[in-house]
Structure formats: C-alpha cells, structure tokens
Amino acid sequence: MKFEGFGGGYQGSSFSELLHVDYPQYRLDWGGFAREGRDALSVPHGTTVLAFKYAEGVLVAGDRLATEGMRVASRDIQKVYATDAYSMMAIAGAAGPAIEMARIMRVELEHYEKIEGEGLEIDGKANKLSQMIRANLPAAMQGLVVVPLFAGYDLRRRQGRLWKFDVTGGRYEEAEFEATGSGGVYARESLKKSHRAGAGRPEAVEIAIQALTDAADEDRGTGGIDTLRRIFPTVIVCSERGIEQVREDELRSTYENVLRSRAERGGA
C-alpha cells in the first residue's frame, strides 16, 4: 500500500537504496561532473589512516590534516567515524565524498536495524560499504577516489576484524593491520615493525601513535601531533564492550613518552 506524503514505494531495508529510488535529489552521486580536458578537481584530501588488531579487539586511528594540492585545507578534520556501537570506518581520499559516505553508512546501519528489528552481521556491514564504494566508481574515475578502512568487533566470532577496499569496491579482509592514504605506506612500514597482536590497550595506543608519527615524518600530507594547537589524532578502539574513543590526555601522555624514548635513542 502506498501512503501519501511518505516518499515513493521503496519497500526494502537499505537507506542508500531508499535514497536512490525515492529521493534521487539526496543520493550520493558525484559521477555526473563532466570535466573533459581539465585537471582533476581540486578538493580537500584526507591523508593517513590505519587499523590493526590488538588483544581486546581492533584499533582505528587517523591524523587530522586535510590537504588541497600543496595547501592545508583543514588541520582538524575527522577521518575516523563510529558507524554503530561495534563498527567504525576510517576515510582516506577525497574528503567530501568520503565524509558523506561515512554519514550514509552510519544511517544505513541504524536504518537496517530499525526496519528489520536486528542489526547486520559485521560481514554484512563490510559488504554494504563495498557496494557503496562501487557505486562511487564513476566519481572515482573523475579523481574523487574514496578508499576507506572498515573495522569492528565481531560479536559472533568474538574478535576484532578489519577490511580494506579498492576503488571498484573490492573488499579484502586483513588479518593483522592495514594503513591507507598518502602516508599509508610509511604507517604500514612502521606497523610492520611494531605491531603485536597480543598488545594490550596502552601498548596498542602507543603503536598507533608511533605509526602516525612515522607517517607524518615522511609524508608532507600527513599531519603530526600538534600540541601547540591541541590537535591530536582520532583513535577509536572497539572491543567486546563496543567502541570507545581514546581521550586526549591519554594520547598526549603516550605521545610524550614516544618523544622521550626517541630523544633518548638520539634520533627522530
């Protein structure tokens, strides 16, 4: 039965499909920009995000800098988003579409849960994100690439899990760690040396700070920790108890310890 004043006739449980079918004016679609013979669109880009498993679950972190070409677009954008109580998403690439995708993803999971009466399994969540990235492919061809990381706690298997994606929506589950964005290579190198699956939470936070500091050291697009402006990376952990954002004072003391031990070694 169709009800007046309630959109069209979409009957399913997906929010992004609902937008696509009944509310085309709101749907995520940047593929329509024809820019033949021009340079890539100049929009802010997010840089380094990383995710890895630790003893209690999974940790996701990202720096706060957005760049537009050689210029700083924003010093304190957020790149790690909680998508529900047990999952999160870290964005890299064109900031506008990526942030919008994180927003839709969040509504998507809540919408499904409300319509169906129970939430998606974590594989279902990752699959849904993969479809959204695939739908963004025309925009990616125009330079608006979005390649997020997705991570969360699997309540069924009782372990943290994480995925990376490519522009075509290809979805690859990672067993240990992953980093992406302009400084992702350096962060991954750092993680390769310091990552330990059995690390407890304090050690996990330190591993993340080490990796982000290394990435900021090598990659000009990645923002370091800025104690002067009080800009700290976003670090979110997810365990059996759900997601929890690591507080600023904990990040600050961990960072100071990292700097101290590096100074003692006599190098950066």
Binding site: F3, E4, F15, L18, L19, Y23, I104
Partner: protein
C-alpha cells in the same frame, strides 16, 4: 449497463468506521505512560512480532490492530525520519511532524480506499532538557480515520482504550518511578483482560525512551528486566 445503487456518503463513512472499529476492538490494548526518567510504552503481546518500535533518536512508535498495516506504518515512519534527519539535522526530526504525516496518510486511505486501515498508532517523543525548544515530552495518538490528538501523561490505544483511559485518569501520577509506572500499566492491561489470569511478564512487550541516554534513547526491556521491575 447496470446502474449502481445509490449509497449516501454518510452511510459509507459510517460503515467504514464501524468496520475499522470492529477490527481494532478485537485486538489488545497498548499503553504509553510518562515516568520520571522518560516515556514507557507497553503492550500485552505474547508473540515475537513487535507492536512497539524505535523511529529515531527521541521518537518511538506503538500500534494496535492489524499487524501488517501498523508495521507498514512503522516502517514508513522510520524511512521518513531517517531521510529527514539525513537531509537536515538529527534534531530536526520531530514527533509532531511525523504524527501529522501519519494523520494525512491515514485520513487519505480512509476516504479513498474501499477498506479503511484497522489500526491506531501512538507517536511519542521524549524531551531533552539540554535542547532548547525540545524540553517537553510529546504524545500523539492517530486513529484509523486520520483524526489526531495529543495527550499528556498517559495514552491508551486499542481494544479497551476508553475504559483504560478512565482507569488511568484515576490512578496516574506524574513523575512516577519506572517500577510504579510499569506496575500501573500492567494493572491497566490486566483490567482489559478481565477474568483471565494475570498478565505474565513474558507476555509483556515493554520499551522505554530514556531521557538520560545519549544519542538513541530507545531501549527494549528484556523479560527478566520486566519481571524484576514488577516484583520490586
């Protein structure tokens, strides 16, 4: 060519209303009560198919009558709220606008379609003292013909709504603790199930909109929690 019989519009409306009332009257009632910590929604419901559902951060829904019809209304309500919250902001999603939309849609079905909806719904919004302009709770009741009313303190829909409303009028006190509100609700539902044995906790569907919660304020109580509150 056959000439259709003339039936006066008054007669048509009366017949439809009677049909709808009969359908709704066969079902059990659903009660909404304001308590000190927010809003309590409860219904006698032995099945696993829910009569109460979450719509948005501060908004919940309860329906009585034909399941397929009110569940459809619940789903379009979720879609309406999520699209609105996405297009504007989460704080712009309000129960009044949703209740009005329900009223329009249900009234439209009542006049246009041959068969009216055999449902009644309640849309509630819990107030947030931190949010200017959103401090107060709101309870709206929408009937099968689209007629809409707002209630304060308590509201009953379904089978024995009139009788239970009279009962609650005498018993309801504002700012009750949750346990008291839950027991009052149960004794009202028990009245509706006259002559039958006590309404057991496992046959109660109980949901809350809790003022103190951050973000989504809707919570469904488990049977154990319900039992605990009833026995306290």
């Amino acid at each position: 060519m056959s000439i259709p019989f003339y039936v006066s519009p008054e007669q048509v409306m009366q017949d439809k209303a009677e049909y709808a009332r009969k359908g709704i009257g066969r079902g059990k009632s659903s009660i909404t009560l304001e308590y000190e910590g927010g809003i309590l929604l409860m219904a006698e419901n032995p099945s696993t198919l829910s009569k109460i559902g979450e719509i948005y951060d501060r908004i919940a829904f309860a329906g009585v009558g034909k399941f397929s019809e009110f569940d459809q209304l619940r789903k379009i309500g979720v879609r309406y709220a999520d699209v609105k919250g996405y297009a504007y902001s989460r704080d712009d999603v309000r129960a009044r606008s949703l209740a009005n939309a329900y009223s329009q849609a249900m009234g439209d079905v009542f006049t246009r379609e041959l068969k009216p909806l055999e449902v009644e719904v309640i849309v509630v919004e819990v107030g947030d003292p931190e949010l200017a302009g959103h401090e107060r709770n709101a309870i709206y009741r929408v009937q099968f013909d689209g007629s809409i009313s707002d209630a304060e303190g308590y509201c009953v829909i379904g089978g024995s709504a009139d009788e239970l409303t009279t009962f609650l009028k005498g018993q309801y006190k504002s700012e009750m603790p949750l346990g008291d509100a839950l027991r009052l609700g149960r004794s009202a539902l028990q009245r509706a199930a006259e002559g039958q044995i006590a309404v057991a906790p496992e046959n109660l569907e109980v949901c809350l909109l809790e003022k103190a919660r951050i973000g989504r304020k809707f919570r469904r109580l488990s049977t154990d929690e319900v039992r605990e509150y009833l026995n306290a």
